[in-house]
Amino acid sequence: MTTERLTRVFVFLFIVLFFAYLFGPLLIMGVSAFNSSTFPRATPWECFTTEWFVKLGKDERLLEGLWHSIAIGFSVVCVSVPIGMAGAILLTQVNRKIRPVFYTIIISPILVPGVVLGISTLIFWDRLGTMFDASYNSIFYSGTFLTVIGQSTFISAYCMLVFIARLQRFDPALEEAALDLGATNFQTFYKILLPFMMPAVFSAAVLAFLASFENYNTTIFTIVSESTLTTVLASKVRYGIDPSISALAVIIVALTLLGAIVFEVMKRREARVAEARKREGMAPVSRADRASKIADPAHILMALVVIAGVGFVYLLAFFDSAACKTHVLEEKRILQERQVIPETQYQGIFGRGAIEGLEPGAEPAPGGTGEGAPAGEGEPGGYKGIFDPNVLKDQSGTGEEGSEAPQPLPDEEGSNFNKGIFDPNVLKQQSGTGED
């Protein structure tokens, strides 16, 4: 008995750990999106802020990439769904001897690394372009076109797998009946097979769009000089990161959760309708059924989630974190003073030189101790700032716009922070906006 209990505890622990691994990173990323620290992190917690979402909305490159991604996604759907369907149908009709070869060829794009697919597409069209002496503005060198083609190569195979699964349940007798009743071949295809495939078309389209939207390995080679959301994101993440990327992740996770809930609700409804039909002997959906659809607790839950989400976002848009930020600055100042006093006695002179070489604001050095050290050296700079009229103007400028204003780049903010922190006027200014 005890061993069984032990196993059960062990299994439970394993599952908890597994899901912690699964959700922990996303959770931490989500938390970091609301932290006012200019470097994305969950600890140390500074202030609750939504400025990163505002910043995200103003990021031109990201938005351009997003539109590109959406356009490419739709094109990929338009290319790969018909191709995938043709592949699946043809697979049921080809000669038994050719079938394994045919299947191996059309399934291979899934097993080939995405990088290789991207490279081969790029080279193929480039060589074709050279052969035809095409200009560099022609389709052979267009990043969007190459990306659509490159992605469709393997996404068509995904779609084909979806169609194969659906086709396995198709009854060929239906087609024969239609033909016997005098339908033409085209009519049989259009009125029998296509409607049967419609649910698969829908799910293949969704799958294709998602796969295209988040593809990176193929896209990075085929996109050439253009950009998609993923390539913009990747270059952002590689060269300096800020929490607006976390903010984007929060939005994506929220949309995903919503999608998952909708999907689950739809699936349940479908199952219930099917059951009801079976009970009533294929009768059409009854009124009672329709009524129950509205009163479904899952629907109510979904509506609540949506309302809560919209309300949350609405509240966020008006949340002002200036007061809290001032408070954090104040705390940092106290912390610095405590650390600085003994230090300045020894290195006051060196400190002035040190600030020149220091890159303020570029990700404060590691951990909690980092908070004090660079700022401590920056202390003389702080006094320097008092006599600089520009600092004041600068500060009041951002102050008037409040926290909704686009955040200055990390470096700028950092230098403001270093220069202005000892300036009492700055504090007044900022607390002023806090009251606004």
């Binding site: 299994v11 899901f19 691994y21 699964l22 990173p25 996303l26 931490i28 990323m29 970091s32 992190r41 600890t43 140390p44 191709i83 369907m85 043709a86 592949g87 149908i89 043809l90 009709q93 299947y103 399934i107 291979s108 794009p109 097993l111 080939v112 690394p113 995405g114 990088v115 290789v116 490279i119 081969s120 080279i123 193929f124 060589r127 190569t153 068509s156 195979a157 797998l161 033409t184 071949n185 085209f186 295809f189 998602l210 990176y216 390995n217 080679f221 993923t230 994101l233 990747a234 993440v237 590689r238 990161i241 992740a249 994506i252 996770v253 689950e264 404060p364 050095a365 590691p366 909690g368």
Partner: protein, 303 residues
């Protein structure tokens, strides 16, 4: 052929054959052939392509093994060691994923019931709709020198210096393992789900301990699923580009990154494609090895 057209009618026949021809010829076969051809050529400016200097060469492949012609060392240690490291690390990631995914897949398929199991499946899927770059980014937040683990660890006084997870590639392995969990769980889950519970009970009644039940009953039954999961995870981690770019240390490279460099900053496409061919051949060998080892067919792997 005539039978085919008579069966489908002319319009549908054209659609079926046309779509498949475009797919197979223009998208699958010809690009690979062109890439193979290109990998045997010198890196020439566009004007000289097709000219007298445009001849076949093995120099791109020999560069991977022996480096530049005037290389003081006789062997290209840099590229080959990166290649070796990539393959070993991909195998390591695959094993890691099998170890953590098999129990969960088994639990989902055989132990968990009804709504609870559905909820678990749903919560497995949700993280994988998040962009691959964002997932890597999340790991960077956790593992960077001022990241969560270091802040917490130093805050609690367990270690004083920030621990460099990125340089040691711990972040990279954790991120890669994370990225492909789903591709390991679902094939195993599909395989285990069709296992008859009576077999498990029979084994238990006959006095078999739990580990032997798994070793002798469940794992042999789930072999196609495990093979499929392993293949997918290996291929994807060996061919991963985003995670190594984001989570890799400054001094460590992934083989795909070298390929990317030849195309991007290196500006030597033929060499890049010869490296890509090497990667492709390696992956193909791995797939065939898995098929042989687990005695499964290709159709069962790609599902």
């Amino acid at each position: 052929m005539q039978k085919f057209i008579r069966k489908n009618g002319i319009v549908v026949s054209i659609y079926l054959l046309g779509a498949c021809t475009i797919w197979i010829a223009l998208m699958i076969v010809l690009p690979q052939v062109f890439m193979l051809d290109f990998s045997f050529r010198f890196n020439l400016p566009p004007a000289k392509i097709g000219g007298p200097e445009d001849v076949y060469t093995l120099s791109n492949y020999s560069h991977l093994l022996f480096g530049r012609a005037n290389n003081p060392e006789s062997f290209n240690w840099l590229d080959t060691s990166v290649f070796g490291k990539t393959i070993t690390a991909a195998i390591f990631v695959t094993i890691f994923d099998v170890v953590i995914c098999y129990p969960i897949a088994f639990y989902l398929a055989q132990v968990a019931k009804g709504g609870y199991a559905r909820f678990m499946v749903l919560s497995l899927i949700v993280p994988f709709w998040v962009n691959e770059i964002l997932r890597a980014f999340a790991f960077r937040i956790i593992f960077s020198s001022s990241g969560l683990i270091n802040t917490v660890g130093m805050g609690m006084g367990i270690w004083d210096e920030p621990f460099d997870f990125i340089k040691l590639d711990i972040a990279l392995y954790a991120g890669l393992g994370y990225a492909f969990i789903l591709l390991m769980i679902f094939p195993i889950y599909n395989a285990v789900e069709s296992l008859d519970k009576n077999q498990l009970e029979a084994a238990r009644d006959l006095g078999s301990p739990w580990w032997r039940i798994h070793w002798r009953v469940v794992i042999p039954f789930a072999k196609p699923g495990i093979a499929s999961g392993c293949t997918m995870v290996f291929m994807l981690s060996a061919g991963a580009l985003a995670a190594p770019q984001i989570l890799g240390g400054p001094s460590s490279l992934w083989f795909t990154q070298i390929i990317y460099q030849w195309f991007n900053t290196g500006g030597n496409w033929p060499r890049g494609s010869s490296y890509a061919i090497v990667l492709l051949v390696t992956c193909t060998i791995f797939v065939m090895l898995m098929m042989r080892l687990f005695k499964v067919r290709l159709g069962e792997i790609a599902r």
